[in-house]
């Protein structure tokens, strides 16, 4: 009973938020951006071919949320709807990338610079600059290893793994976001986890690893 009550309360609160968003309330949009900017950016960063595009895509996602909120009628939760927009943007970006930039991407490819001319490598973007290497060396190394392996898992398994195991969505939400049925979600998870496990068990290459667009 408590869960039903909390679910109903949540739905009525979300309904009030949606109404404010439809009315163009700046406060409501500010709250929405604050709530979802990090998770949307993370999702995009892990699902697009070029992580440098994630920031632009994140902007575009929220602009599309603003444009499309008038057509949102509560068929799904607001969060699911926003993630669907993000996944669609990521998918479009990957298609564009495959058409125009299909090539091998070395992990040492520069993706920017530090401002003083020193190039920032792709492998460096996987490292959380806030953690001290002396205190979290082992954990950091493991995290980098998992990130690299995840980048090599082909789509659509990678997105399914991210939504389920990284973001923590339930099967039904993952199915709704990806526009597939529950059985497909299950099979993608089985396959995706198996691929990721093989990648993690493989010996670390000493040569330049290659991330294949897939």
């Amino acid at each position: 009973m408590g869960n039903i009550a909390s679910a109903l309360t949540f739905q009525s609160e979300e309904g009030a938020l949606v109404e404010e968003l439809k009315a163009g309330s700046e406060e409501a949009f500010a709250w929405l951006i604050e709530r979802y900017h990090q998770s949307i950016y993370s999702l995009l960063a892990r699902t697009v071919q070029d992580r440098g595009d994630a920031a632009d895509l994140a902007q575009e996602v929220f602009v599309k949320v603003f444009r499309g909120i008038g057509g949102f009628h509560g068929e799904s939760s607001l969060r699911t709807w926003i993630y669907r927009i993000a996944l669609r943007e990521a998918s479009n970006q990957r298609r564009w990338w495959l058409r125009h930039k299909q090539q091998e991407v070395p992990m040492d490819q520069p993706v920017g610079d530090c401002g003083d001319g020193t190039p920032v490598l792709l492998r460096d973007t996987l490292v959380d600059p806030c953690d001290s290497p002396y205190e979290h060396a082992a954990q950091e190394e493991q995290r980098v290893r998992v990130e690299r392996a995840l980048e090599q898992v082909p789509e659509p398994y990678r997105t399914t793994l991210i939504l389920r195991d990284v973001e923590g969505f339930i099967y039904e939400e993952v199915a709704e976001m990806q526009g597939v049925n529950l059985g497909t979600v299950k099979s993608r998870l089985v396959r995706g986890r198996a691929i990721l496990r093989r990648l993690l068990e493989a010996p670390q290459p000493s040569q330049q690893p290659v991330a294949v667009a897939g």
Partner: protein, 227 residues
Amino acid sequence: MNGCREIRDSITEYLDGRLTGRAMQEIAAHLNGCRECALECRLMEDTQRSLASLGPVPEPPDMLLRIRVAVSHEMARSHRSRWAGLGLVWKNTLGPFLLQASAGFASAVLLLGTVVFLVTMFTQPVAVEASKDEPLGKASAPRLLYLSSPAVGDQINASATPVVVEAYVNGAGQVYDYRIISGPTDADTRSEVENMLLFSVFEPARFFGQPVRGLAVLSFAGVAVRG
């Protein structure tokens, strides 16, 4: 559910808690007794845990600001376009007819106002005074205005029944003849009745507003006041 193959196919759902309680128990029981499947499950669990520990990807420091600016620009653009859209609708629909519609509306208001003004100014009904109303063609009977004589006489007072009298009234409102039609007709009573009629003042009968002779019926009764 038996066989390692079926168990391993279900490990993903087992780890995600997607199976029924009975199925979960069966798998747990199998894992307790099968080393290979237990290892498979543990490796899969480690993979899941590795993913769950990743956390969010660090975003650029100005990411939040960039998103807010982008949405603000979109808001401003949509407000301008909304007003522009309304202006376009106005221009294409009501705008061309605005002058004619305004002129027509003003004319209608002016005409209606003039009509109402004229009606109220020249057609106010005159208040009717019913007391002075003299219906045309109707004759009115004589009407006793007042008795200027003293109180009713002793004979009439003593009578058990009222004395009903026909009084013939002339155009000047004076009684010129009478007849007792009910009650005592003795000499004393007749004397009292004559006395009262002599000093009575009548409104004469009228015919087309002109005073004429008429007939009035009067009833005299004694009034006894008991103290």
